[in-house]
Amino acid sequence: MPGGNAPLISLSWQPVPGAPGARIYPLIRKIDTTSSNSYLIQTDDVILLIDPGGLAEQSAQLALLIEEIREERDRPVFVFLTHAHIDHFLGTQFIPMFAYPEVAVFAVQEAGAAALECGDGKLTQADLLGQKISPVRIALHLISDVRSGYSAVPISLAFSNGATITITRGQTRGGLAEERIEFGTGPSLEVYHTPGHSPDSICLRMGGLLFIGDVLFAANPGIAGICGWDQCALIRSLDGIEVLIADGGIDFVLPGHGRVITAYDAGLMFTAIRADALALENIAELNHERAIETAAFAEDCMEQVNELFTIMAGRLYYVSYVMEELGEEDVAAEVNRLIKGDVIDELLEAFRSFADEHHKRSGVSIHLALKAGQVIFKLERSFNGAELSHIIDPALARRAARLLSDYTTMLRGFCPPRELAECDLVRHLESLVTGLSIPSCSDDDLLSSDDEDSTFTRLLLRRIGMQPLLSDVEFSFTAAEKHIVATVDQDDLTDLITYILEDLVGTGSDAITLKLNRDNKDAIITLRGTGATASDAMKKGGGFLMRLCDRTGGTLSCSTDGNGRQYSIRIGGLI
C-alpha cells in the first residue's frame, strides 16, 4: 500500500518525502504530446530540473523560478532529461538560461546525449512531430559506458557551472544499471537505465519519489513503435522498475505526462503495461511516412464511421418513432437508449473540428492519427453491436466495429488482418444479395409468433428496423458462368459490395444491376445504378473504397454518365 505522505500539489513547493532538506515544485500538465510535466527540486547543494518540457513558455516559467531561488541562494543548476524526446526539452531551446553550460548543465543518458549533440531528428522524434532542433551540448552523460567498469567506485566530476559531483555505478536487484549522484552533503539522486520507450530512457529517484518519464505510455498505440522503441528492453525495464517499487521506500511515482500516482497504483499499472507490451511483437516502426499513412486512413475511416453511426442512430430513431405511433412508448424509449447519439455526435464533431484545424495549420500527421485513436477508443464504448443487431441490420454494426478495430490495429503498428482464401464469387454474391433483398423477419414470422408479448415485440422491432437495402429497387444479378473462383478476403468483399450498393440505393437508383463476368484470368464485378444522382462517394470516400478493394484483392473504378453510375471491381488470378 502507498506510504503515508500527502500527495504532491502542482505549482507549489513542498518537501521531498524521504529526502531531508530537499523541496520539489511539480509542474503537472494536462496530458498531450506537446509538452511533458516538469519537476524542479532544490537542496542546499544544487537545483535540479527534471524535463523542462516542450513549450517555450513552460521553460521560461521554470527559468524564472530558478532565477528566484538562485537569488535566495546561488547554487549550480542541472537539467535532467528522462529521455531526449522533444516534448521533454524543446522549450529550453528558446530560453537563454539553458543555452549556457556555465549556468545549467544538461544530464542525459549516453544514447540520448549523442542524439542531442548532433541534433538527431529521428531519436528525438522531432521529424515525426514536424519540428527542428538545434544541437544541445550535454556535459553529463549518464549511465555511460566509460564508467561501466567502475562498479561501486565513486568517481568525481567537475562542471563549468561550478558543481563537483560524485557518481557511483551499480546495478539494482532487478537488473537495472544504476548510478548514484551525490551533489554535496544533501540527498543524492539515483539514476536507473530503463530503455524501451527510447534507448536513453531513465528513471530518477530522490527519497520517496521516482520519476519515470514516459514508461507508462510506452505500450500505447501511436507511441509503441516510434524510432528507438524496443519491446524486449521495455519488458526488462518494466520488470526492473517493479522490483524497485516492491523493494519499498518509494511513495509516489511521477510520470512525464499526467498526474502523480502512488507507488501502489503504479505497480498495478506496470502489470497492465507489461501485458500490453508483450502483445506488441513485430509492430511496424512509427516513422514520418507511417504517420502520414495512418492519418490518411484515420480521416477516411472517420468519414465512413460518421456515416454508419448516423445511419444506425437514424434507424433506431425511426424504429422508436414507429413504436411510439403504435402506442408502445416504453419500448420506444428503450430503443432510443440503445445508442448514445449525442455522445457519438459530439465525438465525431470533435474529430472533424480537430481535422479542420489540422489542415488549416498544416499540422503534424501523428497528432491527427492520435486524435482519431482517442475518438475511436471512446466510440467503441458508445455502442453495443450485439444489442443493436437484434433491431437493425447487423451488417451496419459489424462494419462500424470492423472499421474501428482496423484503425486501432493500424495505429498500434500492425496491419489490419486480411484473410485471403478461395471463394466462389457466384455463390458469394448470390448469398450476399439475397440477404439484402429479403426481410429478416417475414410477415409469416410475425403472424406465427407465439402469444407472448416480448417475443412479438422483438419480432416487430426487427421487422421495422431491418428493411432490406434492395427492397425498393429493381435489382438483378447475373453471372456469366456457374462458378467463378478467385482468391479474395470474403469479409472485405462483402463490405465493399455493401458500401457500393448503399451508395447506389442512397443516391436514388431505381434499378441496380450486378454482373459477374470473366475477362481472361480476371473476374469483373460490375454494379450499375440507373437513376443514381451524382455522389461524393468516390470523392469523399474514394480513398477508403479503393483501399478496401485493394484489401479485398481487387482494383476499383467508377464512372458516371447521364443515366447513372457504375462501379467495376477487377479481381485478378482466377482459379
Partner: protein, 110 residues
C-alpha cells in the same frame, strides 16, 4: 448553419444552409417550432445547401414529423444533396415523410 424563411402557396419554406450537427440542430428545431407555434401547419424544409446531417439533426426531423401529423398538416423535405439523401434513405426516414426533388415538386405534390 443559416435558415431563411419564405412563404409560398400558403406553405412556410425554411431553406437551410450549412451543417446540421450537435451545435446547430437545436437552432433548426427552434425555427421549426416557432412556425408550428404560430399556427403554420404546412412546412417545407429546403435542404439544397445542407452539406451534412448528424443523428441530432435526424432527431429534429422526426420530432417535427410527430408534431405535424394531424389531418391537413403538411411536412416535407426537398432538394437534398446526394449524401444527405443517402443518410435519410438508409435510416428509413423516406417512409415517414416525403422527399421531393424541388420546392415546385413539393408544393405541387401537396
Amino acid at each position: 448553419m443559416e435558415i431563411t424563411k419564405t412563404n409560398r402557396d400558403g406553405a412556410i419554406i425554411l431553406s437551410v444552409a450549412g451543417r446540421i450537427d450537435t451545435a446547430t440542430a437545436p437552432a433548426l428545431e427552434q425555427a421549426i417550432n416557432k412556425e408550428i407555434e404560430s399556427g403554420n401547419r404546412k412546412i417545407l424544409l429546403n435542404f439544397s445547401a445542407v452539406t451534412y446531417i448528424s443523428s441530432g439533426g435526424l432527431r429534429v426531423l422526426l420530432a417535427t414529423a410527430k408534431k405535424l401529423k394531424n389531418p391537413g398538416d403538411k411536412y416535407a423535405l426537398c432538394s437534398l444533396a446526394a449524401e444527405v439523401n443517402k443518410i435519410l434513405k438508409l435510416a428509413g426516414f423516406t417512409s415517414i415523410f416525403s422527399i421531393y426533388p424541388s420546392e415546385g415538386d413539393a408544393l405541387a405534390g401537396w
